[in-house]
Symmetry: C2
Subunit: 464 residues, 2 copies
């Protein structure tokens, strides 16, 4: 698909050392963190600046060659598998923090910067970049932006979208545009910034971003709360919000997850606990102390078994490890771990977890559920084996039902992972046929040759 | 343009009482709050529900009849003048607050609800809806959403976009879609919610919205700070932010505005003050007290002439009246008041106000500037007379230069008013030709017959 003539053009743009098309390179970039999806690209390119990206896009557009922009490939919905072959774009040569502007509280970055580096660079200036997806230590900001990554701070601080105030984008025709800027307010035309955030690379290539920073909270306090059953923990979540407290983190683990975590990490969780909440508050010290005390009281009054408040940062680290190790603990149980992110209004969490458990029982599957209780963002996680075709059919059927039920409760098929290739059959459940048609019209208005990450978000039929 | 056959169809949908096409109705809806723009619609319709809106849109689409959705017509960029005639849609029959959901902290509203009613309904439940455009007492939420309205809380709390988490929209083809929902996280496809926010009715008709609410701050404190000159006040703004304090309100008035306000309201402002800052902080009482004290100290250290901290709500009201009366005070000076909203990065405010003053001098115009210092959102206000053709030419030339300079400083042509008909010649200054072309492609992908608010945002040529 990539002729030697086109390969020469790519070499002329990025240099031989940035054209990767050895067998091992093509294999390396044939999959991402999503189980069950694999497709080889024809070529992997690592451009060094926006102009090189623009030149590559122009060649691909003229020759109908698919382009898949890729960060660290940590996404869980097969958004970065090169389903239709073509070129995978890497950003290892575009990984600079360009500027931290302390007067305007912004950071200007290239797409290849690791998210954790952004968080640490902000902290070094007494500032805070709140989005912290699970993959924060290895994920790249370009990927975070393309998937509108979430994390543990959604309830109080929002998600990646809320911190991207400007973008540099190479459009599918190769034109370079800049949207937004170091601006708290900008209504000059359509909000292209937020359109590209979460577009999963289907509308263009993100080559730079202006991020909004906020002052770093003075203090943080962490607590772990144990409940006999799920319903009581959900009542505690509601009671906290009804008391007008918005904690910085409000995470949840169900009994199945608690047991697996304790077996793995041995941190002293009572395995008879039906549910565990991990709660953090941040802000001025006196308010953190006050909120923590009030939340502990609310939880006990709602019927919690036990409340453990960390007295030191080390203790806090230990408590949060129950949540942080959840995925690792679950992953070692079975050959294949499928982590989903059906999301419902916060008030429907208990109902939704109950439904998930019933569906798991019906299809004879092991599903553990944890996630962001404050956001209603659940991670039902199926422990299975991709080689067992019969079981995988049951897994697919179960997740389809889970998505349908989430939407029925006013929720969505994906809270933070994206649609990608994995969930494209379900997009119309949430967006409706007319909504998907509107999205498809936007896609083809900007990318008439469908070169940008084809095979994602819309079904093949829908891609025309 | 509206045949009697089509009129009959409209009557069959909304009832005779909701078809307004008397001479006085057509005149009433021929203009909005923007001086110098007027055009008569052919018909004014007040549908009673989303299905009626859908039926009207289908008829208009089939017959290529323009539709201009209109709230209270308070916008300042001629976004709601029916430039191409057609149908003006009113929402006086769709003005209900459907639900306040205290568990999920959301409010579901119809487009015709007055913004102030939303704010008050939230407050009655101990909750807070922060966006507060100047027209909050009469503007409708549908208009606020369509223009992504800003206000005095932008720096700390963001703008309308940040509080719209779900929409019901009638697309130009008459299809009804629902986007988002009562969800803190949702990445199912493109972010249509934020695309419709600020689209000025050019992509569809907003028929409902889910708004995000937050807990009401416990306390508020207000202070007025006087400075000898503009540069010092700008330094104080920077110093506050550099001290990692984000006040709820950080407003600015230049000397010309201070003088006019004092002459009008006689609230004891020293007319030799070169600039005035109005600062408010909200939050837990102890933090509000601490921040207020620190900000007062920072202002004095930076060289403020005087700091007045309100000791009672009545005193706070008096202090804020300096800012609130600015537009009224300016409006009485000359027959025509043109209020603009060029916006720059916060750090460039002093430079931008200096440039505005030079441009005013060059074109021999009276321009007073006030606005949202925390957002870099300036309101250079020209006191003029629309009947004086020669002066109006100088006004146009001056504002063109102001927009060019704002963009040169990394700013935008409009922070919160929108593009409408008034600023469409300037959109490409900010978005670039390629950016405008991308927006236009999106517009025509969703509205191929250009029935939705034609003549806005893009120039006639650009509309194809």
């Amino acid at each position: 698909m990539i002729s030697s003539k086109i390969r020469k053009q790519f070499v002329a743009i990025v240099g031989e050392e940035n054209v990767l098309d050895s067998e091992s390179s093509l294999l390396n970039y044939s999959y991402d963190a999503t189980p069950g999806f694999q497709a080889r690209p024809h070529c992997v390119l690592a451009p060094r600046n926006v102009f090189e990206v623009s030149e590559i896009v122009k060649i691909c557009n003229a020759n109908r060659i698919p382009i898949v922009p890729r960060g660290s490939g940590t996404n869980l919905s097969a958004s970065t598998t090169p389903s239709k072959g073509g070129v995978v774009l890497l950003f290892k040569n575009m990984n600079e923090i360009i500027e931290i502007d302390e007067a305007n509280l912004t950071m200007t970055v290239q797409p290849g910067v690791i998210t954790q580096r952004i968080i640490e660079a902000a902290e070094a200036k007494g500032l805070f970049y709140p989005p912290d997806p699970g993959s924060v230590n290895i994920s790249q900001i370009g990927g975070n932006i393309s998937t509108n990554a979430g994390g543990l701070h959604g309830l109080k601080y929002g998600v990646t979208r809320d911190y991207v105030i400007g973008l540099q984008v190479v459009l599918p025709n190769g034109e370079i545009i800049e949207t937004g800027g170091k601006l708290a307010k900008d209504v000059a035309g359509y909000d292209l910034t937020r359109l590209f955030v979460g577009a999963e690379g289907t509308l263009g290539v993100i080559t730079g971003a202006v991020l909004k920073l906020i002052p770093k909270p003075e203090a943080t306090k962490t607590m772990l709360v144990l409940f006999e059953d799920l319903e009581t923990s959900a009542k505690a979540v509601s009671a906290i919000i009804e008391n007008r407290i918005i904690p910085a983190t409000l995470e949840f683990l169900d009994q199945a997850t608690v047991r697996v975590v304790e077996d793995f990490a041995q941190i002293g969780l009572p395995t008879d606990a039906g549910a565990v909440l991990l709660i953090e508050q941040d802000g001025p010290k006196e308010i953190v102390d006050r909120d923590t005390e009030r939340m502990a009281k609310i939880c006990m009054e709602t019927g919690a078994m036990d409340v453990q408040v960390a007295q030191t940062p080390e203790e806090a680290y230990e408590l949060t490890s129950a949540r942080r190790t959840a995925l690792s603990a679950l992953s070692r149980m079975k050959p294949t771990t499928i982590l989903e992110d059906a999301t419902v209004p916060r008030s429907k969490i208990a109902e939704m977890v109950g439904i998930i458990n019933e569906i798991a029982k019906k299809y004879e599957l092991t599903v553990c559920t944890f996630g962001h209780a404050g956001d209603g963002n659940l991670h039902p996680t199926c422990l299975t084996d991709a080689r067992d075709t019969e079981e995988m059919e049951r897994v697919d059927a179960a997740f389809k039902e889970i998505f349908e039920e989430a939407v029925r409760l006013g929720g969505t098929i994906t809270g933070e992972h994206g649609v990608g290739e994995m969930k494209l059959p379900y997009l119309s459940l949430k967006a409706g046929e007319a909504g998907v048609e509107a999205m498809r019209n936007i896609k083809f208005a900007l990318d008439p040759n469908a070169i940008m990450n084809p095979g994602k978000m819309f079904t093949a039929k829908q891609q025309r």
